[in-house]
Amino acid sequence: MLRTTPFHSRTAPLCEAQNWRRWAGYVTAGSYELTHDREYHAIRSSAALFDVSPLFKYEIRGRDAVRFLDRVVTRDVSKCVPGQVLYTPWCDEAGKVMDDGTLSRLEDDTFRLTAAEPNLRWLLDNAPGMDVEIADVSDSLAALSLQGPNARSILGSASDGAVDGLGFFRLTTARVKDVSVTVTRTGYTGDLGYEIWVDASDAPRLWDVLMDAGGPYGITPAGILALDVARIEAGLILIDVDYVPAHRAIIEDRKSSPFELGLGWTVKLDKGAFVGRSALVEEKRRGPEWELRGLEVSWESLEEVYTEVGLPPQLPSVAWRTSVPVYSQGKQVGYATSGCWSPILKKYIALAHLHASHSRPGTDVHMEVTVEHQRRRAKARVVETPFFNPERKRAAK
């Protein structure tokens, strides 16, 4: 049986669409309403509330916590001060990405790591000889993500302004009405937003308090369908969709290095030894074979291929998660792994793995589109991600 999250007593009655999606052995809402449109727009114009409890969460504490984590992840954990959060992938010995998540430094020697996949055994395997305790708190810790331009006002009004000065990728403890929580200024939407971590037993109460405080600000419970569009706009990759975790890859070719996933900036080669370092040093020297980039599909070209069959362009309002070939001069040079119509940019966008030879922003390529059962190609341009990056995401106020 799939499990329900600690918020289920609240989310279930609201899920009018009965559209539930699997997530790490749990069910969460795909969309609450019959169409996810409004939930998406809440992310960009007011505030959306997501249940993100199915994330795996590990608490790591002990004198060697920093040393241990620095061994495991690619970012430089010694530079992470208490109250700070890092986004980071981690790799196997061959320098291939296994998973990615956020790492919060709660206290001097206490961290919390989120992951999409179970990682406990792997973490423990890397801990021998170190003074660390690693606890799987996935079940006892529930989480909500509040995303959108009104997120600060809502959380502020429910917590006496406790988050008002909270910077991007920083954390604080707070009381949201009478509920004790940890708040991180993080999210998966590329917008102003917070993730709120709470003891599972307080979860329903937290939901009620936020929905109450958020009413006047247009808070909208939102599901995975809306989130998927937002995260593509933000250029954020999704495990099992945009990359295969190294330890699950059946063939070598399916694995990706951080450099190949646009995560080169997270690889701190000069911080000392860590898992995968030597392979990554080598790859950095050679230059990655693949790069993850954005594609913007040309409207004119799309219109052309659709006009030929007498239709206006049909646009994917639900994000697709399939592998779609990308060509240059008739030769395949890569593949897109997720794409959608971006309602805010009014552009058809996709995330694509491109051969280094064709990954330079500004390069013109073709992406396959299926028009009335026929495989056609539409012009597309290689661009940097994020596609959408509003100032408010990082803004101090």
Partner: protein
């Protein structure tokens, strides 16, 4: 365009069409200045905070046909354009029942079924046919109308292109198109449906902005407009713009500025300076003069030709044609600041219906009666209303927990018996609130502030002659190559170097930007795609 001037072109009027025009000219490298009379940009697409904390989309309230090519060419999203979904339409009924059309197709069909199983089925067939027609008609929006009296190759080619668009239509579609061009909305819908509130609410789109009733011939054609919006549905060129319709104007102004256009407010133009049959600049109301080799008017045709230039500079028959151009105002607007949401007897409490449109159009007779009042010089005692609650869609329109309501009202004739004055305006406002209170009794008690606009106010404040919301009625004899008049539908005027680009030109009113764009392409000498 010649050197020696500070500007290559002057655009009179900072409504959305003037701004679009300026943005395209500036994008092509021209030095452009926009001169707007008011203290804010946007014209009839404007957001103003008249009561502190509450923002009114003062006139227009939804975008429907904003041209996707403009959104792309000017990269309006980058300048803040964001269009939010407005998905349902509720028609409350006097007997306590209601009809709602939802975003979800199945839900709508089930709701229609409740009223008439036949209509539920016909609705799909109707929708398909209208969609097909809309696909055929749509290219017209993007073409400069050819001149039917001309035998020039360019004009003949234009008609050739038009013929090609229609040749693709099957017999059924062609007949339907012909009926739409000639019938009344009510008669046309009678052929399809039996549910009164459905017919009434749909036919209402045919009377908006006209001085006609649902049973007047020629009103059917506008039914198509709704489906034109649907083609661009995924593009979401229709809905509620974040920040109100002023948000659309602001984003266009942002794009124009980025391309280098100068935009001035409180810079009313008194007169276009004409020398030897050629426009050479403008004189401002404050006495300043600005010269440029191109002058574009984004005002309505009456102002563009009867006020901005001397009649002596125009051919007599042209002046006559412009005088005959029908521009009677028939609509009003009531904007409310509310302390709480309206509670509709038919669907009590808070619900998704408050995030969509609410149409007071219970039956075709109701609408026709509202028209009867206006026909004989009075405002409708029980008017047709198209209502939205912007703060439910974009909470930023009102302080947290409070709301704004936008009520578009018909009919309020511009030539009211005895003329409009402040007392009559408020009486009109009362008729609106009283009518609405029959459906949502808590409304009067929730009103913190009310703004009532009659055609008289729209004319005085926004500069739309007779308060006609579209710069001239959108009836067939005033569309396409006849807008504003035969021979001058290609954005040129009888005065050389003087151009027109307001809603009184093809393809007509509404927040489309099409006139502004097509006129710019004409001025630049390019051929629109």
């Amino acid at each position: 365009m010649s050197a020696g001037h500070r500007y290559d072109a002057i655009v009179i009027g900072g409504g959305h069409n003037g701004l679009v025009n300026a943005a395209y000219l500036a994008r092509a490298g021209k030095r452009v200045v926009v001169l707007e009379k008011r203290h804010v940009l946007g014209g009839a697409a404007v957001t103003e905070e008249i009561y502190p904390g509450f923002k009114y989309s003062v006139c227009s309230y939804v975008v429907s046909l904003l041209r996707p090519e403009i959104i792309r060419d000017l990269d309006l999203p980058r300048h803040g354009l964001e269009i939010l979904p407005l998905e349902s339409t509720l028609t409350p009924l006097p007997d306590g029942d209601h009809l709602v059309r939802w975003a979800d197709h199945d839900q709508t069909r089930r709701e229609l079924y409740r009223h008439s199983p036949r209509d539920a089925e016909a609705y799909d067939d109707f929708g398909k046919l209208m969609y097909q027609l809309a696909v055929a008609v749509k290219p017209i929006l993007a073409m400069v109308p050819p001149d039917p009296t001309s035998l020039s190759p360019k004009d003949l080619l234009g008609f050739g292109r038009l013929a090609r668009h229609f040749r693709g239509l099957g017999e059924e579609q062609f007949h339907a198109l012909f009926k739409l061009m000639t019938m009344s909305a009510a008669d046309y819908l009678d052929e399809w449906f039996e549910t009164e509130p459905l017919k009434a609410t749909m036919s209402a789109s045919g009377i908006i902005g006209t001085f006609l009733g649902p049973r007047s011939p020629g009103t059917a054609y506008v039914l198509l407009h709704h489906y034109l919006g649907e083609i661009d549905g995924a593009m979401r060129a229709w809905g509620f713009p974040r920040g109100g319709t002023g948000g659309v104007s602001e984003s266009i102004a942002g794009a124009a500025r980025r391309f280098g256009a100068d935009i001035r407010t409180e810079a009313g133009v008194a007169q276009v300076i004409v020398k030897n049959g050629k426009a050479v600049g403008v004189a401002l109301e404050n006495g300043d003069e600005i010269r440029a080799p191109v002058v574009v008017s984004a005002l309505d045709p009456k102002r563009t030709f009867l006020e901005m230039v001397e009649p002596k500079d125009l051919p007599d028959d042209f002046v006559d044609a412009i005088r005959r151009f029908k521009i009677r105002g028939s609509s009003g607007k009531v904007n409310l600041s509310l302390s709480e949401l309206p509670d509709f007897t038919c669907l009590p409490g808070m619900g998704p219906h408050l995030r969509g449109a609410i149409s007071i159009s219970p039956s075709v007779d109701y609408l026709e009666r509202a028209y009867d009042d206006a026909k004989y010089g009075a405002f409708s005692r029980r008017p047709y209303m198209d209502i939205i609650i912007p703060s439910m869609i974009d909470p930023g329109m009102a302080p947290p927990g409070k709301h704004v309501m936008s009520i578009f009202v018909q009919y309020a004739p511009s030539d009211l018996d005895g003329g409009w004055d402040e007392t009559k305006r408020e009486a009109f406002g009362d008729a609106v609130i009283d009518t609405l209170a029959e459906y949502a009794p808590n409304l009067p008690g929730a009103i913190l502030h009310r703004q009532v606009l009659t055609p008289w106010d729209i004319e005085r404040e926004m500069g739309l002659t007779q308060g006609n919301i579209f710069h001239g009625e959108l009836t067939l004899q005033q569309l396409f190559c006849m807008r504003p008049t035969v021979g001058w539908a290609d954005f040129t005027t009888p005065v050389r170097n003087y151009y027109q680009c307001g809603s009184g030109t093809h393809p007509g009113g509404g927040i489309t930007g099409a006139s502004g764009r097509l006129a710019a392409l004409k001025i630049l000498g390019g051929r629109p795609r």
